[in-house]
């Protein structure tokens, strides 16, 4: 129970940041529906993220994760839906961070911007057929396009059934919509709901546990939770040990130098 309390406390601590992001969204005019005007530049005035900017020659700015910036998703709103969805798939709990804390949304964003997102190594000739094998990827849409379609349908379903954005719903309500997507009950254009959901689930797990070089598994915390040492040179000296070994984590950065 104390874990749960701690958890609640943590959630409260996260509130201001979440709130500020939503304020940003409102201030920027993106939510108002088309009245973007001068676009982002104009909206910077009310943007709480800009307050640390200084003009000093000395770099006194707090350290930033420059790589935590979108390179694939164009709409703020899509990214917020993505964040909310992956956090339900891999939530923060007493074991440690959830998908957001591990950087999974940025991991997915980067993956979709690369060859995997554009299906460079996949067979993409038509026609696409109705197939009975649910796990088969049968669409000519790239993974990037599948994500945009799926994410927007999650939000559209949320607006339709709850009259609220997906990321403003309670966790259990979000789960209901995710389950409907997983079960194929939400119609998507050009691709089946389960294809999108399986991809979302798989990439969330990948983002939690892939080497941090890809933007997820922040500080190797995914590995820590799994008691996995990550990238060690080898275990020749330990392979016969019967006792479970807690070994200091290493990343590819540590290994390649």
């Amino acid at each position: 129970m104390s874990d749960q309390k701690k958890q609640e406390k943590k959630n409260e601590d996260n509130q201001p940041e979440q709130e500020s992001r939503r304020r940003f969204l409102k201030n920027s005019g993106l939510v108002a529906g088309g009245i973007v005007g001068g676009g982002l530049l104009g909206s910077f005035i009310g943007n709480p993220f800009t307050k640390d900017i200084t003009t000093s020659n000395k770099d006194e700015r707090p350290k930033k994760e420059f790589t935590e910036t979108r390179m694939f998703f164009t709409r703020f709103e899509d990214f917020f839906v993505l964040e909310a969805a992956v956090e339900r798939i891999y939530p923060e709990d007493g074991n440690g961070p959830g998908a957001i804390g591990l950087g999974v949304p940025y991991f997915i964003d980067k993956q979709l911007a690369g060859p995997y997102g554009s299906n460079k190594f996949d067979y993409m000739k038509g026609p696409v057929q109705e197939v009975k094998v649910a796990s088969s990827y049968q669409t000519l849409m790239s993974r990037g396009e599948v994500f945009i379609e799926g994410i927007r349908k999650l939000n559209a379903e949320s607006l339709r059934s709850q009259d609220a954005k997906f990321y403003d719903l309670e966790g259990e309500q979000q789960d209901e919509i995710l389950k409907a997507m997983e079960a194929g009950e939400i119609g998507l254009r050009g691709v089946k709901g389960p294809t999108f959901f399986n991809l979302l689930r798989q990439m969330t797990i990948e983002g939690a546990y892939a080497d941090p070089l890809y933007g997820g598994n922040k500080n190797m915390m995914g590995w820590k939770m799994k008691e996995h040492p990550g990238i060690r040179p080898g275990y020749s000296d330990l392979i016969e040990e019967e006792k479970f070994q807690i070994i200091e984590r290493m990343s590819l950065k540590d290994y390649q130098g």
Binding site: F121, S136, Y137, Q138, Y209, A210, Y214, G230, G234, E242
Partner: protein
């Protein structure tokens, strides 16, 4: 128009074990050999520091590019096949060394039964034991005849192992001793011994010690680092063609590899092959490489595809059972038999390991099992493996756990180092209705038809799986697991292809009416064409690489014989009057 190049003695399509072995053997003898490799160049320096699960295991870094070609799949003859589009649905090794670079390293020998499945079954149980639609065939060679070639392959690879009291007879011990057992492997061996079996360490191409092979190539000692199957070895400690036969072939000065060279046809006239037509994938230019002998040594899929596209041999017809090319595709839904155990009071170092680290026993394999009162043919080779679990790929949860969310996270973390499984590697037989042909609807990058695989699961598969899952459950119980889940029999093919488990299509035998190649891998209908690889197996045998290596050494001997003694078939045709 294709540009015609200067003639060489031998052109080999493929650089895996199947292509690398004859290339090395023939280049050593002074023949000029050109190899065509569709993938990139690869050597050990590409694998140093390559411990990246996402890149290699999840994103198939060293696998084939499906945008060039893939396969289509269907269950039965009346269904429309659909293309397997992604690499998670269809993959095989790409680049120099082929699939042998990412293989796990298990180096089992085929059993007597595997080579003479039909005659042994009839001798032991009578012809009625063979189901009506099963194309059960002999390979036209006995274990005793193939034994020296197994030995030769193991010495090239430096295979690490220990004598198997229940295994087939050997002329010599393994060149290096067995790998060291991890705790789960020790538990398995103790449990199996208690149940009366004879467990040993799995014969392995991840070497227990540094080894210099007869060609002078050195393979290092395995570090149990876990980045093994699906990866090239960081340490040069996995016996693969890159570390052995490719290096040997290059040293002779008689061997040239052309990478990014995609073979599209065997060119032939009047029953003789004259060369290979290929595309340079960097320029799109077409070339014709003439040769006295053409060797197809790709994977099962590409060997069969090239034979069909080149219109060599008679395509198999599942309605009449006549024809041979594409016949007996197998291994796509190997029945196996397994049990998974979850342990509450034990935690294992599952993040350590190597592709072929594990325990095995042969007591219930195809040579030792008594099928008299069993509703199936053949037996299984038992295995526990500790390949080294990747954190992305390994999320074990007991049945009934949700696939995502709070409970999934909690349980997948809890059981990450508490799950073991024991399984049986099974044969997968050829059936009249399981085969490969050219797809009528889908085409590859060059607008050639894709290869179509038709495969369904049979009653034999289900009974096999039930029997062996029950045996695996007994072992897991003895190992002390708290939750035991018995594997379910396969209900249908999952419509995926990969892990080097597919066989058949250009099968070996002694009768040209029922087989495509003889026991030198020489095509009956075209004596200067040799097709080497798992495509030769009339049924998929458990852990087939060792047998593939032996057959490749025999083929190399056959090609030399063919080139030096004058042309002709190296084996006399037989007519077995097996019902087609």
């Amino acid at each position: 128009m294709a540009i015609k190049l200067d003639k060489v003695d031998v052109v080999v399509v493929g650089t895996g074990w199947a292509g690398g072995i004859p290339s090395a053997e023939l280049a050593k003898k002074g023949y000029k050999v050109v190899a065509l490799e569709r993938g990139r160049d690869h050597d050990h320096s590409d694998f140093v520091g390559s411990k990246d699960e996402l890149r290699y295991a999840s994103r198939y870094e060293i696998m084939t590019d499906n945008s060039i070609s893939t396969v289509t799949a269907r269950g039965t003859l009346d269904e429309e096949a659909f293309p397997l589009r992604t690499q998670s649905e269809n993959f095989e090794g790409n680049n120099v060394g082929g699939s042998s670079v990412h293989w796990s390293g298990v180096t089992q020998r085929g059993r007597k039964f595997d080579l003479q499945a039909r005659s042994i079954t009839i001798d032991k149980y009578g012809e009625d034991k063979i189901p009506a639609d099963m194309n059960l065939q002999d390979m036209g060679i006995t274990y005793e005849e193939l034994e020296p070639y197994f030995d030769q392959f193991e010495k090239t690879a430096g295979t690490s192992g220990e004598d198997d009291p229940m295994g087939p007879p050997r002329s010599d011990s393994y060149p290096t001793g067995p790998m060291r057992p991890s705790y789960p492997v020790k538990l398995f061996k103790e449990a199996a011994s208690k149940l009366g079996y004879h467990p040993i360490m799995i014969p392995s191409a991840n070497l227990s010690e540094q080894y210099e092979n007869p060609d002078g190539e050195t393979i290092n000692a395995c570090q149990y680092c876990s980045f093994c199957m699906m990866y090239g070895c960081d340490f040069g400690a996995k016996s693969d063609p890159v570390a052995t036969v490719i290096r040997t072939a290059k040293k002779t000065g008689n061997y040239e590899i052309r990478t990014e060279s995609y073979a599209r046809r065997v060119i032939h006239k009047d029953g003789k092959a004259s060369g290979v037509l290929y595309v340079d994938m960097r320029t799109g230019m077409e070339y014709e490489q003439p040769a006295d002998v053409v060797v197809l040594a790709g994977y099962t899929i590409s060997n069969t595809h090239l034979m069909l596209l080149s219109e060599i041999g008679k395509p198999y017809d599942p309605k009449t059972g006549e024809g041979v090319i594409g016949k007996n595709s197998a291994g796509l839904a190997s029945p196996g038999g397994s049990a998974t155990g979850f342990f509450e009071d034990k935690k294992f170092n599952l993040f350590m390991g190597s592709g072929s680290l594990g325990g095995t026993f042969s007591d219930l394999d195809s040579d030792n099992i008594d099928n008299s009162d069993l509703g199936f043919i053949g037996g299984g080779i038992c295995e526990i493996r500790q390949r080294g679990s990747g954190p992305i790929g390994s999320n074990p949860v007991p049945q009934g756990t949700p696939r995502w969310g709070k409970e999934f996270k909690e349980k997948s973390l809890h059981y990450a180092n508490r799950m073991l499984s024991v399984g049986f590697m099974s044969p997968s037989f050829g059936w009249k209705f399981n085969y490969m042909d050219l797809d009528p609807n889908y085409t590859d990058m060059f607008n050639d038809p894709l290869l179509r695989i038709t495969h369904s699961v049979t009653e034999q598969d289900k009974k096999f799986s039930e029997y062996f899952s029950a045996r695996a459950e007994e072992i897991m119980k003895e190992m002390g697991a708290d939750i035991i889940e018995k594997g379910n029999p396969p209900q249908e093919w999952r419509h995926t292809q990969g892990y080097g488990e597919t066989s058949g299509g250009v099968i070996m035998g002694d009768d040209p009416k029922t087989s495509a190649v003889n026991n030198y891998s020489q095509v009956w209908d075209m004596d200067n064409l040799f097709v080497i690889g798992a495509s030769a197996l009339p049924h998929k045998i458990p852990q087939q690489t060792g047998t593939l290596g032996a057959l490749a050494y025999r083929a190399a001997e056959g090609i030399d014989k063919y080139l030096s003694d004058g042309s002709g078939l190296l084996v006399e045709k037989k007519s077995n009057a097996i019902k087609a």
